[in-house]
């Protein structure tokens, strides 16, 4: 049976720049900056102030609510400032600036000897995951302790590790699988023990045959029930819903989550971080990322501390004369930045430097249908783009625009160079704003009615 999904596109994988470069340690920065927003959910509240001494791994921002995740200092040193600084989405975010004293002295109780995972209770493991500030490292940065605590009634039978790395140019997961397979497998076992999943899978795209081999051997040593599945190369195979469809042949319902079909998916980097957090009580303070692209002199896979300035990494790898586009993430879904005054955060999987050309004017939709063929969510991208070009939000909502995973395959393939995904993002934003307004109005109405009830009762 061919494990794949309907739709998808085949961009040049452009991985030759860095796939054979072993992971190198990035230069240790003199000053780091820890933003309070490195995850989906409420941003953290800083728990240190200017002048405080901090140790490596010490929490500097506490989780604000259940769907949130603490952030930690990746070096020991002194807090130089707590203020608003540039962030990857363009809005400034509260960040803690720390001067590195170079001592690398860990906070008490962290970075301990390996604990015996098999004798640890599930609650203890979850506690370590929460305290370590683990989030999804594939890019979505969903807090891990929330993900592995599905509500009652959602039974998880399958856990899938995402080693697909379908974005062109990026090779961080590839190198991690080649160099740290045992840690990843151990992380998978920990995650499966926590949620009680019986079936364990690791999905890897066929453009990484060496990783498939290494992961299969590592899995067999420890747990022969782990199935390493080689998947045909197609973008976006690494998207959660498409991965579940390809490996389990189940479709996550519209508006639903993978747990609704009994599955959970995590990036291999997240599994490795889980292993580090649960066995050694190491918080998420470093990660592997790829600095690559035509605009980089020496593309590299780097193990970088969270909080390392992007400028440091770009200087380390060197930029070419014509480099003019800095993208955090991959070329299909990454965010183009207007400044290099940013830092590595938990979700930074890659820094892509391109020699780009300005975007031209797009043409009319010629109804060629390539976007229909490309869409892995079975939507009608060209129709959505035309509806939104004419600001017809209601019709777009009726055409299932909210199901769009914004993978960009439709836009990649459009001969008229229409910015379809941009139209869809605009439409989704409009719909959410309207929904929020509706909710606010409904609540205000309820509050008013409750108040009137009270007054009626008081008058009687």
């Amino acid at each position: 049976m061919v494990h794949t999904f309907a739709g998808g596109v085949h961009p040049d994988d452009s991985k030759h720049f860095s796939k054979d470069k072993p992971i190198e340690e990035a230069p240790v920065p003199k000053v780091i900056r820890i933003p309070m927003a490195q995850h989906l959910g409420a941003p953290c509240k800083p728990v240190v102030q200017k002048g405080d001494a901090v140790k490596k791994g010490q929490m500097v921002g506490e989780a604000a609510g259940f769907v949130s995740s603490p952030v930690h200092s990746s070096v020991s040193g002194k807090v130089a400032d707590v203020g608003q600084y540039e962030h990857i989405f363009g809005n400034p975010v509260t960040s803690v600036v720390i001067e590195n004293d170079g001592e690398e002295s860990w906070a008490d109780g962290l970075n301990v000897e390996a604990s015996d995972v098999d004798s640890m209770s599930i609650d203890d493991m979850k506690k370590r995951i929460l305290e370590a500030g683990l989030v999804g490292m594939g890019g979505a940065t969903f807090p891990l302790h929330v993900k592995v605590s599905p509500p009652k009634g959602k039974h998880i039978d399958s856990f899938i590790l995402n080693g697909v790395e379908c974005e062109p140019y990026l090779t961080a997961d590839h190198r991690l699988m080649l160099e740290k397979p045992d840690g990843i497998i151990q992380g998978l076992r920990i995650l499966c023990k926590i949620v009680g999943a019986k079936d364990k899978y690791i999905g890897i795209e066929a453009n990484k045959p060496d990783a498939v081999k290494v992961m299969r051997e590592a899995a067999e040593k420890v747990d022969p029930s782990i199935k390493v599945i080689e998947l045909p190369v197609k973008y976006p195979q690494g998207a959660e819903k498409q991965l579940i469809k390809a490996i389990l042949d189940r479709e996550v319902p519209s508006g639903g989550l993978p747990m609704d079909v009994g599955a959970l998916v995590n990036n291999v980097g997240t599994a490795f971080a889980t292993y580090e957090a649960v066995e050694f009580k190491r918080p998420l303070i470093e990660r592997v990322l790829t600095v690559t692209g035509e605009g980089v002199v020496n593309p590299k896979n780097l193990l970088a501390l969270v909080g390392t300035p992007i400028k440091t990494l770009l200087d380390f790898c060197g930029l070419r004369e014509k480099a003019n586009k800095i993208i955090l993430g991959g070329p299909m879904m990454g965010l183009a930045q207007y400044t290099t005054d940013l830092v590595v955060i938990k979700g930074t999987s890659g820094i892509l430097v391109l020699e780009g050309k300005p975007v031209g004017v797009h043409g009319p939709c010629i109804r060629c249908g390539r976007c229909y063929d490309a869409c892995s969510m079975h939507l009608m991208p060209s129709r959505l783009s035309v509806l939104l070009e004419n600001k017809n939000i209601e019709a777009a909502q009726a055409a299932n625009i909210l199901d769009c995973i914004e993978c960009g395959a439709c836009t990649y393939v459009c001969p008229a160079k229409r910015p379809i995904v941009q139209f869809i993002k605009y439409g989704k934003g409009e719909i959410r704003a309207r929904q929020a307004k509706e909710r606010a109005r409904a609540e205000a109405k309820k509050a008013k009615e409750a108040k009137e009830e009270e007054e009626k009762k008081a008058a009687v």
Binding site: D12, N324, P331, A336, P364, R367, Y412
Partner: protein, 334 residues
């Protein structure tokens, strides 16, 4: 490198497909059949092809200027495709003004009155031919050009001859029909070269093979099954003497079926968006072609069948919406 960066939304890479690439590839695919038309029908054919393209492009430039759109859009090749297709579906012995007016109508009315590229409902070249057929019906139906070396008195196309029982026309062998050595429109006769061009487009993934297959198969099967209306039709000796498979070939290679099936029914703008829709479209065209050929007033039905199915495309699209991913019955709010 100075500190100014290019910022745009994702995705930051694009495929190398473009509208000009598609249009000029279609021109390339039509070229063999167009050149064959010039070979069979001589100088008039060359003049008509060049003239039609020139008028189409000039009209496009003029209208773009009038609509205050960038004139570079005229270079995208779509006007050339329309001009070339229009030339290929008329006979090479028509008057020059018919070519000029038809090409002008195709671009100005059938394309730009609807909003320009991507907005038209009907195939512009076919709409132009329908207009010219109605405006100069005598010229368009009474005398088809014949290949220069055929020394025949009659000037009926094979379909025309068979329907009207024109005894002096033919005999036409299967080879004549396949290679194009027959009277007809200047680009529609050579089934072989149209097939080659069509297969080229299919391999390059500009044409979905389901559409020409369903169109041609449906048309040929129904042409074999549906009897001619009227006692005189279908009586020609050389047709009656054909074997079964030769008759299949007759209905497939005659008239504008190959040109219509490979190049007009597959026009992206005027055909359905999905593959399922394309099959319905192809079958519909095939049915209408056979009905007009056997039961209708004209000897050839490809032009009108495609125009009628173009009208049905929005309806076809509405009923062939892709299956929703992960569809769940909506729960009623309690």
């Amino acid at each position: 490198m100075d500190d100014k960066f290019l910022v745009s939304t994702s995705p930051h890479i694009r495929s190398d497909e473009s509208i000009p690439k598609i249009m000029w590839t279609v021109v390339l695919a039509l070229a063999p059949a167009a050149v064959a038309g010039c070979y069979f029908f001589g100088w008039p054919a060359i003049a008509i092809i060049l003239g039609s393209i020139a008028v189409a492009v000039a009209t496009e430039v003029a209208i773009l200027a009038f609509r205050k759109k960038p004139l570079s859009q005229a270079l995208d090749g779509s006007a050339v495709v329309t001009g070339l297709l229009f030339a290929m579906i008329i006979s090479s012995n028509v008057s020059w003004y018919l070519v000029v007016v038809g090409a002008f109508f195709s671009i100005a009315a059938a394309k730009h009155l609807f909003g320009g590229l991507g907005c038209n409902i009907w195939n512009p070249a076919l709409a132009g031919r329908a207009f010219v057929l109605t405006a100069w019906s005598l010229q368009m139906t009474s005398g088809w050009a014949r290949p220069l070396d055929i020394d025949a008195i009659s000037q009926a196309t094979p379909l025309n001859a068979l329907k009207m029982n024109v005894e002096a026309a033919g005999p036409y062998s299967l080879g004549d029909l396949f290679f194009g050595h027959i009277p007809g429109s200047l680009g529609e006769t050579s089934a072989l070269l149209l097939l080659i061009g069509g297969l080229f487009l299919i391999v390059r993934k500009y044409v979905d093979w389901r559409v020409p297959l369903s169109f041609i198969a449906t048309a040929v099967i129904l042409c074999m099954i549906i009897p001619f209306k009227g006692a005189d039709a279908g009586q020609l000796g050389w047709y009656q003497d054909m074997q079964f498979f030769e008759k299949l070939g007759f209905w497939a290679f005659s008239g504008g079926l190959f040109l219509g099936a490979f190049f007009m029914a597959t026009d992206m703008v005027t055909s359905p968006m999905t593959k399922k829709g394309g099959i319905i479209f192809g079958i519909g065209c095939g049915v209408l072609t056979a009905v007009i050929r056997k039961l209708g007033g004209y000897p050839e039905g490809v032009c009108y069948s495609i125009l009628i199915m173009n009208t049905a495309v929005p309806l076809i699209d509405r009923f062939t919406v892709p299956r929703k991913f992960g569809y769940v019955e909506p729960k009623k709010a309690s």
